[in-house]
């Protein structure tokens, strides 16, 4: 596995060669020199979503039940199986998030994630329930090695759409690989346990897709150019999470749109 990862990292670094100039539009920078290749991957991902992931996700959340979508959700109602799987998988992501918190020089965040992991793994029955939030008010501090690289000053790099994994950048793709290597669970667990933990993480991601499926479907199937729309939305959201770009576009000052001499 490791030689494979190293090859991937080396390939990602080599990709930096022939880059077109980034385009700036509405105050948002789009750096996509591999657009043609990315669009091919997008078409593959979209097909995968329409034929495999979407239908399975629909089954998981009971899409055929018209009442389920519009019925008010009772916050005290027992959580469903889907939410349990999402919780358990997400709980297993906390150790590596803790490590990243430390690498970013944010020990508070690292401690918060570690406390959550300790409480939910025990009182929360292996992370199925969330007493850390419900009883102690400790929320998750979502992070990854891509963010660590950003904190260290590594530039974002070109936009990439990865097969199955979806939107990313060169920095985040490298981060995803490193996250696997520095995950404490990867080193502590062996054999079957490691496989189970990995399976739960994947199932949790798939569960998120099921829960927020309408939003994803809306973009993928409802957009005139779903590639451009996905890229734009993903980049804006990612930069917001990393605190890297702010939206302060003022259309009233945009002479392309508004005639400044109009009365």
């Amino acid at each position: 596995m490791r030689p494979l990862i190293l090859t991937a990292l080396a390939a990602l670094t080599l990709l930096s060669g022939c880059a077109d100039a980034p385009v700036r539009q509405d105050g948002i920078t789009i750096n996509d020199p591999y657009e043609a290749q990315n669009r091919r991957v997008h078409a593959f991902n979209k097909g995968l979503d329409a034929h495999v992931i979407g239908p399975v996700a629909g089954l998981a959340r009971g899409k055929d039940d018209p009442d389920a979508a519009s019925a008010p959700v009772d916050p005290d109602a027992p959580i469903g199986l889907l939410q349990m799987v999402i919780n358990a998988g997400r709980n297993l992501s906390l150790p590596v998030k803790s490590v990243n918190g430390l690498l970013q020089g944010r020990p508070g965040n690292a401690g918060q994630n570690l406390s959550r992991f300790a409480i939910n793994s025990t009182l929360g029955l292996g992370g199925v329930f969330d007493p850390a939030m419900d009883n102690f008010g400790i929320s998750e501090r979502d992070t990854d090695f891509g963010e660590t690289l950003a904190v260290w000053g590594v530039p974002e790099g070109p936009y990439l759409e990865l097969p199955v994994l979806g939107p990313s950048t060169r920095r985040d793709a490298a981060g995803q690989v490193v996250d696997l290597l520095i995950d404490p669970l990867y080193h502590l667990l062996h054999g079957q346990d490691r496989a189970v933990a990995f399976g739960l993480r994947v199932a949790s991601k798939a569960g998120d897709r099921a829960r927020f499926g309408d939003t994803v479907d809306g973009i993928l199937q409802g957009s005139a150019d779903s590639y451009a729309q996905t890229r734009l939305i993903w980049l804006m959201n990612r930069r917001h999470d990393l605190g890297e770009e702010r939206a302060d576009y003022d259309p009233y000052d945009d002479a392309d749109v508004i005639d400044p001499y109009a009365d």
Binding site: I28, I233, H240, Y252
Partner: protein
């Protein structure tokens, strides 16, 4: 002292100057009112099609639809004749009502708290937090301006995702499908969202 006199003098010779220029409190109040009306519709339990129309009416009342539609259309907006633009703007307004209205069920049982307002360039950014069922709280920012002559919002940014930029990309893609024909885009918009 002279300056003060001059100012008060100016005040009396310009009686039709808008009584209240937009400030942080005004921007905040606008978003509070708009959200109040949106939640009334969400909690009314009416048929979705009726709700979409009401969302559209609220959008038309509190947002600067003209500048949003213009900005979404991009440079083509300046080359379009007024009648074609008006048809596009109307179709765009309905499209927004449907597109964002369709997600109302995510907001059933939720609440949005307005947390503050601050000046940003020539406009005000009103910050709020949306608490949706089973989701981490989301940051929602509203950009409010009085440059249309009225206090209206012209952009919504949800967790960094900017509605204006997103719709601009969407309109650009739809327009290029129609080789730049804005009238055809307006017709397509009636089926979209």
């Amino acid at each position: 002292m002279l300056g003060l006199l001059a100012c008060s003098g100016l005040g009396t010779v310009l009686p039709f100057h808008p009584a209240l220029a937009l400030d942080a409190n005004g921007a905040r109040a606008l978003i509070d009112r708009s959200l109040g009306e949106v939640y009334q519709v969400i909690n009314s339990g009416q048929a979705p099609a009726v709700m979409y129309q009401q969302f559209e009416a609220i959008f038309a009342r509190y947002a600067d639809v003209d500048v949003i539609a213009r900005s979404a259309l991009g440079p083509a907006a300046r080359q379009t004749d007024p009648a074609t633009f008006a048809a596009y703007k109307q179709a765009f307004q309905e499209y927004i009502g449907r597109k964002y209205g369709k997600r109302f069920h995510e907001f059933v049982g939720s609440r949005i708290e307005v947390t503050g307002a601050r000046q940003l360039k020539s406009f005000y950014a009103v910050t709020s937090v949306a608490y949706l069922n089973g989701r981490a709280p989301m940051e929602v920012e509203w950009h409010v301006s009085d440059r249309s002559g009225k206090d209206l919002y012209f952009n919504i940014i949800i967790e960094g995702v900017n509605m204006l930029a997103s719709e601009r990309a969407e309109m650009a893609a739809m327009l290029s499908r129609r080789r730049g024909d804005v009238a055809a885009l307006a017709a397509d918009l009636q089926q979209a969202g």
